[in-house]
């Protein structure tokens, strides 16, 4: 005899994919890639862990979420990502992080594209006492290449480095410059493209 359809139990509306098979080792590997990307702004690094990313969240963004997000780090998703049940299910199950509609409360923010205007001011820049309580913004780009493009200077860069990231909204670089003025407060930006990442911490000066 078959029971009636289980609408009140976990009826899969979207198939949930597995997380990191060796969570500890792989999360450490992602953490190191991200740490080095932030320490050396403008360098592009590969995230070398197997992830089956949900929806149109990129593999690198998924790996960052798996490695860094947990119940203490609220996540904000833009409209595109938060309307995808597969992404919500995946993040809820594998990270346990609350997904918040309030940008100011988010520790990590994921957007579906850099071509829309991102309002940096809406995210938490931390406080003067605790500048670490700021948001990290993860922006997917199609092109991510070191050695050409923007001229970057600042801590972690010997003289200057070059990074090409795009396509981005025309106001993005202005927003980065305004963000830098908030130092020691400010948000940090991580670009992701496929399985590659590059980062612009709040200290980096960007010239077009």
């Amino acid at each position: 005899m078959r029971d009636t359809k289980m609408a009140d139990l976990s009826t899969p509306t979207s198939i949930l994919s597995p997380g990191l098979p060796e969570a500890v080792r792989e999360a450490q590997s992602v953490f190191r890639s991200l740490m080095m990307a932030l320490a050396r702004p403008g360098t592009v690094r590969r995230i070398a862990v197997p992830v089956q990313s949900p929806g149109n969240l990129s593999p690198a963004a998924t790996a960052i979420a798996l490695a860094l997000c947990d119940f203490e780090t609220p996540i904000w998703l833009d409209e595109d990502l938060s309307s995808d049940e597969a992404i919500l299910r995946y993040l809820r199950f594998h990270t346990g992080a609350p997904v918040t509609p309030d940008r100011g409360k988010a520790h990590f923010a994921f957007v579906s594209s850099g071509t829309q205007m991102i309002d940096f001011d809406a995210f938490s820049p931390g406080t003067l006492e605790y500048p670490d309580r700021s948001a990290t913004l993860v922006v997917p780009v199609d092109e991510l290449e070191e050695g050409r493009g923007w001229r970057l200077t600042g801590p972690g860069i010997a003289s200057e480095s070059r990074l090409l990231a795009g396509p981005l909204h025309p106001g993005f670089v202005t927003a980065l410059a305004e963000n830098r003025l908030l130092f020691p407060r400010g948000i940090d930006v991580v670009f992701v493209s496929g399985d590659r990442i590059a980062a612009l911490p709040r200290t980096t000066a960007v010239e077009v």
């Binding site: 078959r2 029971d3 009140d8 994919s17 997380g19």
Partner: protein, 156 residues
């Protein structure tokens, strides 16, 4: 998916799913494997690696008093997904990863073909064994039962 309070009355379906897991929790590995074979359960994917850890057990004085922490217990948890998409969960006392995984597949199968079918079908052997064991234990305890009766003392 509607969010329900963990203290809400379970629906008939949830009740049956709990029955399956209550049986799976006390079944041996051979019994679980036998049940899966009988159901022709497909290969499942581990959604997260099987882990062993501690959970805090809570109790209430007298069964309904103030809650307190009794102590920690070792549990092993498994989460699997069937090719058809059902996600099964199992948290079993102890460190036996194979048992936890088999129980999780059984939970996923319960969602696919209905928990009652499994509790009274593939797990019927376990159900009967446990009922017999419980009956024996109850009979042993009943044999030592003493009926106290006191005389009415008048005052108080």
């Amino acid at each position: 998916m509607p969010v329900t309070s963990p203290h809400a009355e379970p629906t008939a379906l949830q009740f049956q799913r709990r029955r399956v897991m209550a049986l799976a929790a006390r079944a041996t590995l051979d019994e679980l494997r036998g049940a899966l074979a009988a159901l022709e359960a497909p290969d499942a994917v581990d959604l997260r690696p099987i882990e062993t850890g501690l959970v805090m057990l809570r109790g209430r004085t007298g069964g309904d008093g103030a809650p307190f922490n009794v102590g920690e217990a070792t549990v092993t948890r498994a989460t699997v997904r069937l090719p058809s998409g059902e996600v099964g969960f199992a948290y079993l006392l102890g460190r036996d990863a194979a048992r936890a995984r088999a129980a999780a597949i059984l939970d996923a199968m319960a969602q696919r073909i209905g928990p009652k079918t499994i509790a009274d079908g593939a797990l019927a052997g376990v159900r009967d064994r446990l009922a017999a064991e419980d009956a024996t234990a109850a009979a042993r305890a009943a044999a030592t039962k003493v009926d106290f009766f006191t005389m009415v003392r008048g005052e108080d």
